[in-house]
Amino acid sequence: MQQTMKTKKILLQITLFASLLGIVACTEKFLDPTIPQVDEELYFNSEKNAQLALTGCYSVLGWDDSNFLQFWLGDILGHDAHKGGEGAGDNAWIEPLLRFQYNANNEGLINPYKNYFIGVGRCNKLIDGVTKMSDNLIDADMKERIIAEAKFIRGYFYFELVRTYGKVPLVTKVLSPSEYKQPLAEISAIYAQIEQDFKDAALILPEKSEYTTEDMGRATKGAANAMLCKAYIYQEKWSEALAIAEEIINPTAPAIPQYHLESDYANNWAYPHENGPESVFEIQFGNIPGGSNWGDQNTGNVYSIFMRSRNLDAGWGFNLPNQNLYDEYEAGDPRRDATIITDGEILWPGTADEVVADNSTNWASNIDKMCNQKYQLPFSLQAENMSDDPNNWIVIRYAEVLLWAAEAAYHTGGDWQSYLTEVRDRVGLGASPYLADPVKAIFHERRCELAMEGHALWDIIRSGRGVEVLGQFGYTEANNHYFPIPQAQVDLGGF
C-alpha cells in the first residue's frame, strides 16, 4: 500500500515536471517575432504602396537642411545679401565661407550632402522596386509615370550635388554592402546621367496642364525639359540648351504653350498665385494643421521665418539684401521694390496686415537695413507654427527659361535680344542699357529678375566671373569653384 503511494507520488512528480518542461519545449519558431511594419522586401506589391514611396521621394525636396543652401549659398555667399540673424555667432558656419575659406569640416555642408543622397537613395529604391512589379500589381501607364517622376527627382538631386560638390559617387541602383565603396565619378559622367534622367522623364511625364489641381506640384514634362536645359546651360552646351528652351517656349507636340509671364512681376510670390502661369517647378509647402513642426517630416516652409524681419512676427532676420544689389537695378525697375523691403516701407498697404517695416531697431547685423521681400507673408497668412508657412519655394520660373534661351542664343549666334526684351517688357523697361556687352546684359538681367531666389552665387561661378565679382572676398577658382565634400564622407568613402 505504502509502495503504491510512493509510486503514485513519483508519478505525480514526473508528470508535473514534464508538464512544466513542456511549456518551454519550444522550437526555433518561438524566436520569430511579430513584425509591426512592412518589410521592404515585400513592400512593392501595389500601386498604392508605389505611390506612397514616390511621395516619400518628393518629401526630401522640402527638407530644411538641404534647401537652406538655396539662399545661404545662392544669395548670401553670392554676396547679394548679408547673413543677418542675431550676430556673427548665429549660424557661424557660414562666416568662413563668406571669406571663401572652404573647409571640409564645415558643419553647414554636411547635411545637404547627406540629404541629397538620401533623396537619390529613395529614388533608386523606388525605381528598383516598381520596375520589378508585375503587370497584375500595377497599371502599366502608372508604373511608367511613377518611374519617370522618380527619375526627375533623382536628376534634381544629382544636379544639386554636382554643382555644389563637383565630383561625387554616381549611384543609380540599390547598393549591396559589397558595393558600398564607390569612386568619385567624373563631372561629365554625372551630367550624362542627369541628362538621361530628365530626358527619360520628359518622354513620359504629363504636361503641367494635363495634371488635375490635386496633382499640382508633381514633376511635369515642362519641368523635366527646363531642368535639362539648366543642366545644358551649366555645361555650356549652348545649342542643346537653346533647342530645349525653345521646345518649352514654343512646344511642337502638343503645340500648347504651358507657361507665360505673370503680368505683375510681384504676383509670382503672392501666395494665391502658387503654381501660377509662370511657375515651371516649385517645391511645394503647405500649412497643414498638426504635422511635424521641424525636421524631415515637416511639410511647411521654414524659409519665411528665417527671412522675416527680426522686428516683425518673431522673425529671425537672415538673408538681407545688400546695397550692391539695390544699386544693380535700373531707375524705375519695379522689380527692386518687389524684391527688397526698405526701412520704413509700408507693407501690405490698405489691408488688415498693413505694417511699417522696421529694419533697424536693435538689429546690428542688418548692415544695409533691408529685407528680402520675395518670401514674406502677411501676418494673416502665416502659420501658427513658425516652421509651417504655406508658401512654395520657386525653383524655375518661365522668366528664367527665357533668359536661358537668351544666353544660349547669344552663344550660338542667334537672336538673343528678343528673349531679353520679353522679360524686360513685362516690367515696363525698354532696351537693356548693356546691349553693347551681351554677357553683361544677360547677367544684369538675371541678377535683377532672379534676385534673392538663390541663383546669384551659381550664376557668378558658372559664367567664370568668380574672381571678378567675388575675388575681393577671397574667391579663387582653384579653391572655390566647388565646395569640399565633407571630410567624414571623404574618410568613409576613401575618396
Binding site: L16, F17, L20, L21, V24, E28, F30, L31, D32, P33, P36, Q37, D39, E40, Y43, N49, Q51, L52, A53, T55, Y58, S59, V60, G62, E86, G87, A88, G89, D90, A92, E95, R99, Y113, R122, N124, K125, V171, P177, Q182, T213, E214, D215, M216, Q284, F285, G286, I288, P289, G290, G291, S292, D296, Q297, T299, A364, E384, Q489, D491, L492, G493
Partner: protein, 1018 residues
C-alpha cells in the same frame, strides 16, 4: 473625485487581503496542554547579557524576547524544544525536558564568511564562490534614505559606478559595472527574484533583502547573452520564523538647492551689456544706459526654485509558521522637488510568500503593485529648459509687470522661466505589476526541480497640456493644445532548473541544468490636438480639440529569447573549487542565421586557509584565491535591425493638401549577431584577525569584440539611419578593491569600509571607421565623440592659449600662407592653439574625457549602547566635465546674463590673460567656440549619506510591548568637495544616446536633503 473613489476602493481591497492572510495564519496556530513557565538568561560567551534575543517554541509561532538584562520567560509544553536566535550569533536549540530554568550562552557567528550569496539561478556559500560577486545587504540599504535603489548603490561596492542623469524627483540613475564596455547600451541586467527587468526604479528600497552584483564573466556567464555589462541580482524580503512582526518606518525631510551660481545682478549686467555693444560699435540699449540705477534686479534662479520636501512611510508585516512564511509591505514616497511644479509620488504594495505544501513541494510568489505619479518641468530640451533660461535671461527683466502679468525679456532671446513653469501642465502616471510564482519539487533528497514564471507589466500614461497665452516680447501661443500618450510594456519569462547536489566524502558536487523563455512586448500610442475649447487644464482632452486634425502615432515591438544553460560546481574538501557554466541563447533581434550564441565560463577557487600548512597562521581566517574566464553577450539594440521596414509620415504637398509618403529610414544588416565580451578575472579574498578585517581584490580584463555599433557608411549608399553592424573592440582593464574592518568591544561596535575601482578604457578599433560622433549643444558642432585609440568617450573642441593682448599678437597668429588663423579676433579675444600636426589650421580635437579613472566609496558605522551613527562617502577621480551651462552663462557677447566671474573680463592690454575672461563684444564670433574653456576637472568626493540613530533600550521597549523603536536624523549630499564650478559634479547621460555622457546641460540640480525618521517594530 472619481479618482479618489478608486483609490479608496483599492485600499479596502488591500485590507481584505491582509485580513484573509491573518485568518490563515492564526488558524495555523496550535493549542498546548501541560504548560510550564520556563525562565532564564541569555548571555554571550563573556557572560554579558544579550537583550532582544528571540526565544521560540519550535514548530510554533509562540515566542518571547529577552529583556535588557538578557532575561526571558516563556510558557511552554514540557516536551517542547526552544530555539533561540540573535543576529550575529549562532542559533541554539534545547529540549525543555520539564526544566523551568534554562540559561543560554550564545556563540558569536564568525563574521561574514559563510553567508549565503545569491548567484544566477541559485545560491552558494560565500566560501564556495569562484567569481567576483559583491553583496549589499538590507541593513546598508536602510542606512540610505534615498527613495531610489540605484542611488543607494552609489559608492557601496567596488566596480559599481552610479551616476545621476538629473536631480528631478523620480528620476533613474545610470549604473555601470566595471566601466563602459560598448558604445551601445551599457546597462547591467537586473534580476529581481529571478525575473529579468530593465529598470529597478519601481522597487521600494525597504523591501530589499539583498543585492548581489555579479561583476566578472565567470559569475555573469550564466546570464549569457545579456550579462556583458554585469548582473545585479535583487532578492526581496521574506518572513523569517518567529512571531509576526510589524515594522513601521517613516521619514520626513526637506530638500534644498546645495549650490547656486553667482550671476550678475541687473546693474552689473547692464554695465557689461553696454560695454559689449560699445565694443561692437553699437549704441547701448536706451533702457540700460543708466545701468547704475538698475540695482539687484531679478534673481531668476531663486524665482524658479523652492524648498522641497519628502515624506516616506513603509509598513511591513512578516512572519512564518512551520510551513509558510510571508512578507507584506505597503509603502508611500512623496517628493516635492527643488524646482517649482516638479514632484513625484510612488505607492507600492508587496506580497511575498513561500509555502512548503508537501515535503517534496514548495511553492511561492512575489508580487509588487505600484503606481507612480510624476510631474516634471522642461529640463532636457535646451531651447526651453527652465534651468538654462533662469541662468541666461537678463536680471533687468522682472518676472511680472505692475499688473501682475508675466513679461518676457526685451533684451535677450530667452523666455521667462517662471511663466514657463506656470504654464507647464504635464503628468506622467505609471502602473507597474512585477511578480513571479515558483514551484520547487524535490523528488529525491539531492535533486531539486524549480520552475519560475515571472511577469513585468508596465503601463504609462503621459499627458501634456499647453495653454494658450500671450506674453510681452515672446511668441506666445494662440490655441491651447494637449497631447495624451500611452505606452505599455509586457514581459513574461519562464525558467526551469534541475539541480543535483550531493556530497561524497570530501567531494561535493552540484550540477544545474535549465532553460528559459522570455517574451517582451511593447506598444505605444499617442494623440495630440490643438484648438481646445477651453484653456482649463482639467478639460484638456482630445474630444475638446480639433480631433479631425489630430496627430497620432503608435507602434509595437517584440523581443523573444530562448535559452539553455548549465552549471557544475565541484569542490574537494572545501579547498579546491571549480565552477563551469555554459549558456546557449537565441534572440529574435538577430537575423535568422545568427540568432544563437554560446557563452561559456570556467573558474577556479582555492581556499588556502583550509590547508594544513596555513594552520599556524591563526590570524588568517580566510584566504581564497580565485580566477576565472568567461564570455558574455549583448543584444541591447532595436528589435528588428536585420530588416528594413517601411515607415510612413514622409508626406509632401500636392495641390495644397498633404499626401502621406513612406520610406525605409532604418538601415538593415542581415548578418547582425551577438556582441561578445570575454573577461578574465583574478583575485583573492582575505579575512584576518577573527575576520575583523576583510579584503577583496580583483584584477580584470574585459574585451568586447564584434561590438554592436551603428557604424557610419558613406552617404552615397543612401542609408537614412545607419545599420547596426558588429564592428570594433573595446578593452577595459582595472582593479576592484574592497576593505572592511569591524570591531565590537563591550557595548561599542564599529565598522569602516572602503572600496575602490580603477579602470582603464580604450576603444581599440572600429574596423575601418575612425570616429563615431556623439552629441553637442543646441548651437554648434559635436562635443562628445568616440575615437579609435582613446577612451570610449571624448570631448572635442579647440584649445585656448590665453587672450590676444595686442593687434600685433592677432596679426602674428597666421598660417603658412600668412593668412590670419582667427580673422574675427581682436585684442581681448581668446587665442586658440594651432594644430601641432598642421600649422595651417587651429587644433580641433580631444580636449577631455568624461570617464573617471577611479571610483570609490568610504563607509562607516558606529554603535554605542543606544546610539548609532553611519556615513557614506562616495567619489570619483580623474574625469572631466564639459560644463555646458557655461556656454550659456559666460557668453562674452552679453546676449545672456553671465556668471559674476565675467566681471574680470579683459578691458585692455595686460588686464587679464585668462581665456575665461575675454573682452565683451556684442558681435563676438570668436570666443564662444567649444573649447577647453568649458572643460573642467570633474573629480569630487561627497558625503552621500549620514545618519544618527537612537534606539529605545530593550527594557523600556518590552514594557511598552514593542520589539524595537529607533529614532534617527540624517541627510543626503551634505558635503561635496570638488573644483567643478557647475551645479553638480555628478554628471551622467543626456537624452541623446549612449555617447551623450559627461556633458552638463544644466539639467535639474541635485538637492541636499535633511530628514528625521522613526522605525518601529512590534
Amino acid at each position: 473625485m472619481k479618482h479618489h473613489a478608486t483609490n479608496a476602493k483599492s485600499v479596502t481591497g488591500i485590507r481584505w487581503l491582509v485580513a484573509i492572510l491573518f485568518v490563515c495564519l492564526v488558524s495555523a496556530g496550535q493549542v498546548f496542554a501541560q504548560e510550564l513557565t520556563v525562565t532564564g538568561t541569555v548571555t554571550d560567551q563573556t557572560g554579558a547579557p544579550i537583550p532582544g534575543a528571540n526565544i521560540l517554541i519550535k514548530g510554533t509561532t509562540t515566542g518571547a524576547v529577552s529583556d535588557a538584562n538578557g532575561k526571558y520567560s516563556i510558557k511552554a509544553d514540557g516536551n517542547a524544544t526552544l530555539t533561540i536566535s540573535f543576529v550575529g550569533f549562532i542559533n541554539q536549540e534545547v529540549n525543555i525536558e520539564s526544566r523551568s530554568i534554562i540559561d543560554f550562552k550564545l556563540e558569536q557567528e564568525s563574521l561574514s564568511v559563510d553567508e549565503l550569496v545569491v548567484v544566477g539561478y541559485g545560491v552558494q556559500r560565500k566560501s564556495d564562490l569562484t567569481g567576483s560577486v559583491v553583496s549589499v545587504k538590507a541593513e546598508e540599504i536602510e542606512k540610505s534614505k534615498s527613495s531610489n535603489l540605484g542611488q543607494i548603490l552609489q559608492g557601496r561596492a567596488s566596480g559599481v559606478s552610479v551616476t545621476t542623469n538629473t536631480g528631478t524627483p523620480g528620476s533613474t540613475p545610470s549604473i555601470r559595472i566595471r566601466g563602459f564596455s560598448t558604445v551601445n547600451n551599457s546597462d547591467p541586467v537586473y534580476v529581481v527574484d529571478g525575473l529579468q527587468v530593465d529598470d529597478i526604479s519601481f522597487l521600494n528600497p525597504s523591501d530589499i533583502e539583498s543585492m548581489e552584483i555579479l561583476k566578472d564573466a565567470s559569475a555573469c556567464a550564466i546570464y549569457g547573452s545579456r550579462g556583458s555589462n554585469g548582473v545585479v541580482l535583487i532578492t526581496t524580503k521574506r518572513g523569517s520564523k518567529g512571531k509576526m512582526q510589524i515594522s513601521i518606518d517613516a521619514t520626513q525631510g526637506v530638500s534644498k538647492v546645495w549650490r547656486k551660481m553667482n550671476m550678475l545682478n541687473a546693474s552689473q549686467w547692464g554695465m557689461l551689456n553696454n560695454e559689449a555693444k560699445i565694443n561692437a560699435g553699437l549704441s547701448p540699449s536706451a533702457s540700460l544706459v543708466d545701468y547704475q540705477s538698475l540695482g539687484e534686479g531679478t534673481n531668476w534662479f531663486d524665482e524658479i526654485t523652492q524648498v522641497g520636501s519628502n515624506k516616506n512611510i513603509n509598513i511591513g508585516i512578516s512572519g512564518a509558521s512551520e510551513n509558510t512564511n510571508y512578507f507584506m509591505s505597503i509603502g508611500n514616497t512623496k517628493e516635492k522637488g527643488i524646482v517649482k511644479k516638479s514632484d513625484y509620488q510612488r505607492t507600492s504594495l508587496r506580497l511575498n510568500s513561500t509555502s512548503n505544501l508537501k515535503k517534496w513541494l514548495t511553492i511561492g510568489e512575489n508580487l509588487t503593485l505600484e503606481k507612480d505619479i510624476t510631474h516634471r518641468v522642461n529640463e532636457e530640451d535646451e531651447w526651453n529648459a527652465v534651468i538654462i533660461e533662469a541662468l541666461a535671461i537678463d536680471p533687468v527683466t522682472a518676472v511680472r509687470d505692475t499688473d501682475g502679468n508675466f513679461i518676457g525679456s526685451e533684451f535677450v532671446d530667452m523666455r521667462n522661466p517662471v511663466a514657463q513653469i506656470d504654464r507647464t501642465h504635464n503628468d506622467d502616471i505609471t502602473t507597474i505589476i512585477v511578480g513571479n510564482v515558483f514551484a520547487e519539487i524535490k523528488p529525491f533528497k539531492s535533486l531539486v526541480f524549480k520552475s519560475n514564471l515571472g511577469i513585468d507589466y508596465n503601463d504609462n500614461n503621459s499627458n501634456n497640456f499647453s495653454p494658450a497665452y500671450e506674453i510681452f516680447s515672446e511668441p506666445g501661443q494662440a490655441e491651447p493644445s494637449v497631447s495624451r500618450n500611452y505606452a505599455q510594456s509586457k514581459t513574461w519569462s519562464l525558467y526551469n532548473t534541475l539541480t543535483f547536489s550531493k556530497e561524497y566524502g570530501d567531494h561535493s558536487i552540484s550540477a544545474m541544468l535549465g532553460n528559459e523563455a522570455m517574451n517582451k512586448y511593447e506598444e505605444y500610442f499617442g494623440t495630440s490636438v490643438t484648438n481646445l475649447l477651453s484653456n482649463n487644464p482639467d478639460q484638456a482632452f482630445i474630444d475638446n480639440g480639433n480631433a479631425s486634425a489630430a496627430i497620432s502615432n503608435g507602434l509595437m515591438g517584440e523581443l523573444l529569447m530562448l535559452s539553455y544553460f548549465g552549471r557544475v560546481n565541484y569542490s574537494y574538501a572545501n579547498k579546491y573549487l571549480v565552477t563551469a557554466s555554459i549558456r546557449r541563447d537565441g534572440a529574435s533581434n538577430f537575423g535568422i542565421n545568427n540568432r544563437w550564441g554560446n557563452f561559456p565560463s570556467f573558474s577556479l577557487g582555492w581556499n588556502l586557509h583550509k590547508e594544513s600548512f596555513m594552520s599556524n597562521l591563526s590570524f588568517i581566517n580566510q584566504l581564497k584565491l580565485r580566477g576565472g574566464y568567461g564570455v558574455n553577450g549583448n543584444n541591447k539594440i532595436g528589435n528588428y535591425p536585420y530588416i528594413s521596414l517601411a515607415s510612413k509620415g514622409y508626406g509632401y504637398v500636392f495641390g495644397n493638401t498633404v499626401l502621406d509618403g513612406s520610406a525605409f529610414p532604418s538601415g538593415k544588416n542581415q548578418d547582425i549577431k551577438w556582441e561578445s565580451n570575454s573577461s578574465t578575472n583574478i583575485g583573492f579574498d582575505l579575512g584576518l584577525l577573527d575576520n575583523s578585517i576583510n579584503m577583496t581584490f580583483d584584477y580584470y580584463v574585459k574585451n568586447t569584440t564584434g561590438m554592436l555599433v551603428e557604424k557610419p557608411t558613406p552617404s552615397h549608399v543612401g542609408l537614412e539611419t545607419q545599420a547596426w553592424v558588429n564592428a570594433g573592440k573595446v578593452k577595459n582593464n582595472g582593479i576592484d578593491f574592497d576593505f572592511s574592518y569591524k570591531k565590537k568591544t563591550g557595548s561599542l561596535s564599529y565598522q569602516i569600509g572602503f572600496n575602490l575601482n580603477y579602470n582603464q578604457n580604450e576603444l581599440v578599433t572600429l574596423d575601418g571607421a575612425k570616429t563615431l560622433w556623439g552629441t553637442g549643444l543646441r548651437d554648434g558642432d559635436f562635443i562628445t565623440y568616440a575615437e579609435v585609440g582613446q577612451p570610449l568617450i571624448q570631448f572635442r573642441g579647440y584649445k585656448t592659449d590665453g587672450l590676444f593682448q595686442t593687434w600685433d599678437e592677432v596679426n602674428a597668429h597666421v598660417d603658412s600662407n600668412g593668412d590670419l588663423l582667427q580673422p574675427n579676433a581682436a585684442p581681448g579675444d581668446i587665442k586658440y592653439k594651432v594644430d601641432p600636426n598642421d600649422p595651417d589650421k587651429l587644433y580641433l580635437g580631444s580636449i577631455g574625457c568624461p570617464l573617471p579613472k577611479i571610483t570609490y566609496g568610504i563607509s562607516g558605522k558606529l554603535e554605542y549602547k543606544m546610539f548609532d551613527l553611519s556615513f557614506q562617502f562616495q567619489g570619483v577621480y580623474g574625469n572631466d566635465i564639459f560644463n555646458g551651462t557655461m556656454v550659456y552663462s559666460e557668453r562674452p557677447d552679453a546676449s545672456h546674463n553671465m556668471d559674476a566671474q565675467m566681471l574680470n573680463r579683459w578691458t585692455g592690454e595686460g588686464t587679464t590673460n585668462d581665456a575665461h575672461n575675454p573682452r565683451m563684444n556684442a558681435a563676438d564670433a570668436n570666443n564662444n567656440w567649444f573649447s577647453d574653456r568649458f572643460v573642467e576637472d570633474g573629480s569630487y568626493v561627497r558625503l552621500k549619506d549620514f545618519q544618527i540613530g537612537f534606539t529605545l533600550p530593550n527594557s523600556l521597549a518590552t514594557k511598552i510591548k514593542i520589539q524595537s523603536l529607533r529614532f534617527f536624523i540624517g541627510g543626503t549630499n551634505l558635503l561635496t568637495f570638488t573644483k567643478y564650478s557647475g551645479f553638480d559634479p555628478d554628471v551622467s547621460y543626456g537624452v541623446y544616446g549612449n555617447l551623450d555622457y559627461g556633458l552638463d546641460r544644466g539639467r535639474y540640480p541635485q538637492s541636499r536633503t535633511f530628514f528625521t525618521g522613526i522605525s518601529l517594530t512590534f
